[in-house]
Amino acid sequence: MESQTRQSHVLAFWTPVRNPSGSFILQLVRNNTAANLYKSSLEHTAAAHGNITRPRPGTGIKVNFKDSKGNLIKTVEANEGDDILSIAHEHDIDLEGACEGSVACSTCHVILTAEHYDLLPEPEDDENDMLDMAFGLTDTSRLGCQVKLTKELDGITATLPSATRNMFVDGKKPTHH
């Protein structure tokens, strides 16, 4: 079997297998360990940047993650210097970080509480350029990968922005089925 590509989270995938003659056949492979592979790839990604170590419970900086409706997803603890994206990944929170923290996308966009937003240093030009294109941008929005935690941010809440359900194209309003 040839090396696996980034298909670990799908139910089944086509994989090319080379014959001795040089031609290929495609095999459809069921992925029975999809869930485990996905989880381990998430863990690998988290380890790949930031090397997050969890503080002893009760000693870390508390970070609350909320969904777009304001419901608490989880409260976690972080160390000084950890960034919100890495912390989210460490604790399996669904915050996408497509460019892996290189300020080349806006998928880790989070909305912070105003009091905590004001404690942070101003975003640099490159972060602001990406925030320009973030979905559901607010006055207290930041890229999660650029928010480094400090003790004075203890208790900070990061809210995931809302996605519009059934996005419509060309300005047409969605109709009910």
């Binding site: 040839e2 040089g22 495609l26 459809l28 497509a98 350029d129 941008l137 996605a163 996005m167 194209v169």
Partner: protein
């Protein structure tokens, strides 16, 4: 290509330039930079700024990256002094993003011709527009008039046609209609002076069109039947639904997401959000299937639509298969880095022929001559 412009030696598409400097297998002819003083790029998206940046950036700054050596040589010999980026509408409608604009503004020894007051004097409606306008007004780091190379953003100009070079005139002459943008509809229309359309001509050595993705009307791809040539994307209903909203029918249920459904615009985050919403629609339809459909069926899919495209199936069974596996790519990657290591470059890209030859020599591929 632009509808009003013919193909000519000095009239090319931006894709040809991008494929040239990235060593794409399509292997286009190099752009004639050694004889071009003035370049006109038609279109104001990020591709236009990418091309402008490659043409204006001092080659010494590019040396340590992955620009192929023969491209660096051509850039060192380039005679390009000015690049005009031409757009039909104004700064509020330009498709380029602030990040790419900022890279242009920060180019050393390259200056932007300052915008006219009338052009920059528009009212921004979004944060992105305000920041773009602010950056345009601030201008380039290098002051205009102090640099050898310059560029300009020629807003409100619509190409009508071109006069080809002749014995009397060595350069092209691009005819441009001046436009005005309706503040409500945001549509461009001809600018009139006492009822007469205002036009001008721009002498230029090289014309590059960068006007977004165009699918061809002759496409035989299976999804072509749903493709809207005017909108330049697949026609979808809310939720990305393409083929049918009747869940009980036997027709395959087809969905489109991202650029296939919205056209070639929108950054990763918006495409991601669209993917989430289409995934929700798929799950919603799945749970609403009538009981006679068995969601736990062993077959992964019985629809021909879920099979790999016919081109792939054909290629797989052909002895001239062009498939490159992940392991093949790892070998190519290592070799490109190795070739550049003595020059302090990131990598020295191979073209597709070289890469195949390299794989044969490594024994990773069966040589073409030996295939049965």
């Amino acid at each position: 290509m632009h509808l009003q412009l013919p193909r000519d030696k000095g009239i090319i598409s931006a894709l040809d330039i991008v494929h040239w400097y990235t060593r794409h297998p399509s292997n286009p002819a190099p752009p004639p930079l050694h004889s071009a003083n003035h370049v006109s790029i038609i279109g104001m998206g990020n591709v236009s700024l990418d091309v402008a940046r490659m043409l204006l950036c001092p080659p010494s700054l590019l040396e340590k990256y992955d620009v192929p050596s023969h491209v660096l040589d051509a850039l060192r010999k380039s005679q390009v002094k000015h690049v005009s980026v031409i757009g039909r509408r104004g700064p509020l409608e330009a498709a380029f993003t602030t990040k790419e604009l900022r890279e242009m503004m920060n180019l050393p020894d390259v200056a932007l011709r300052p915008l006219e007051e009338s052009v920059s004097n528009v009212q921004a409606r979004t944060r992105q527009q305000s920041r773009t306008l602010e950056l345009l007004k601030k201008g380039s780091r290098a002051a205009f008039g102090t640099t050898l190379r310059t560029w300009s953003l020629d807003f409100y100009r619509n190409p009508l046609g071109v006069t080809l070079p002749s014995s009397d005139s060595p350069s092209y002459s691009l005819s441009l209609e001046h436009t005005t943008v309706d503040p409500i509809t945001r549509r461009a229309g001809p600018l009139l002076d006492s009822g007469v359309p205002v036009t001008s001509t721009l002498p230029t050595s090289l014309i590059v069109t960068a006007m977004g993705f165009h699918a061809e009307s002759s496409s035989t791809a299976p999804y072509a039947q749903w493709y809207d040539l005017n909108q330049k994307h697949i026609k979808t209903l809310p939720g990305g639904r393409v083929s049918t909203t009747n869940l009980d029918s036997d027709e395959p249920k087809i969905y489109a997401s991202g650029w296939a459904a919205t056209g070639a615009k929108g950054v990763l985050a918006s495409t991601m959000m669209d993917a989430y919403s289409v995934a929700e629609a798929i799950l919603e339809d799945w749970t609403n299937l009538t009981p006679s459909s068995d969601p736990h069926s062993e077959a992964v899919s019985s629809s021909p639509w879920d099979a790999p495209p016919p081109e792939i199936m054909k290629s797989l069974s052909s002895p001239d298969s062009e498939i490159t596996t992940y392991n093949d790519w790892l070998a190519i990657d290592a070799e490109e880095v190795r070739r550049a290591s003595t020059e302090g470059k990131e990598r020295e890209r191979m073209d597709w022929k070289e890469a195949k030859r390299f794989l044969y020599d490594k024994g990773l591929r069966v040589a073409e001559e030996d295939r049965s």
